[in-house]
């Protein structure tokens, strides 16, 4: 349980950093001229809309991590096998899967603009994210089944 408490705090800090990164990024962009921004996102698939797409992706990651953190918090409050954690982890698993599949599609669409090495590293990162998402979904199923077994065990007299 101690490890889960530590992980819960790490995720809380991570969420705070991610949330802080958004206004910092906006401030940095605010100081840049339009020409500089156009040059910066010239090679990007979405052009000048790239920062907004990135913002959306970060928001989805924040929601996914927030759900994992809440799932861990439910572990601490209600024990290992509870339906609340299962629902939260399932939700974050689906979010991570969505963001990684979209990331792969975007990388493949914009493959002409990026180098082979960048494309490969992006795809590897997204594949790892898919693995984490599927892992979370599987883990959520294990917790759900564990909850059923635990309640049956509690009702065995």
């Amino acid at each position: 349980m101690k490890k889960i408490i530590i992980l819960n705090w790490i995720l809380k800090i991570f969420i705070a950093i991610l949330i802080l990164a958004i206004p910092v990024d906006q401030c940095l962009r605010y100081n840049m001229s339009n020409e500089a921004l156009t040059l910066l996102y010239k090679g990007s698939v979405f052009g000048n809309y790239s920062p907004y797409i990135m913002l959306l992706r970060i928001a989805v990651v924040i929601i996914a991590v927030f759900n994992i953190q809440k799932g861990l918090q439910a572990f601490i409050k209600n024990g290992y096998f509870n339906l609340k954690s299962s629902v939260r982890l399932k939700r974050s698993g689906y979010l991570l899967l969505t963001i990684s599949i979209l990331g792969i599609v975007i990388s493949l669409v914009g493959m002409r603009q990026s180098t082979e090495r960048d494309l490969l590293s992006d795809i590897i990162m997204y594949l790892l994210l898919i693995a984490i998402g599927v892992g979370l979904l599987a883990f959520s199923d294990v917790i759900k089944k564990g909850n059923i077994i635990e309640s049956e065990n509690n009702l065995t007299i």
């Binding site: 309640s151 049956e152 009702l155 065995t156 007299i157």
Partner: protein, 70 residues
């Protein structure tokens, strides 16, 4: 569930109260209540043995199977 627990009938026959049985069996009254109301998912042989020994009866006197009609 088609399995019926007739523990309250046996308790009435033996003129014994639930808390007395629970005390003699070494389980909580809450757990005995779960068993009596049919909310239990399973029953251990050791529990069944204790009930049979205390109430001087057979497992069939406590547990009954009634076929469900659709």
């Amino acid at each position: 569930m088609p399995i019926i627990i007739n523990l309250d009938i046996m308790l009435a026959k033996r003129k014994m109260r639930s808390n007395e049985l629970a005390e003699q069996m070494g389980i909580t009254t809450a757990n005995l209540s779960i068993l009596k109301t049919g909310k239990a998912k399973a029953i251990r042989f050791s529990t069944l043995e204790a009930i049979c020994e205390i109430l001087d009866c057979q497992p069939g006197d406590i547990i009954e199977y009634i076929k469900e009609t659709q």
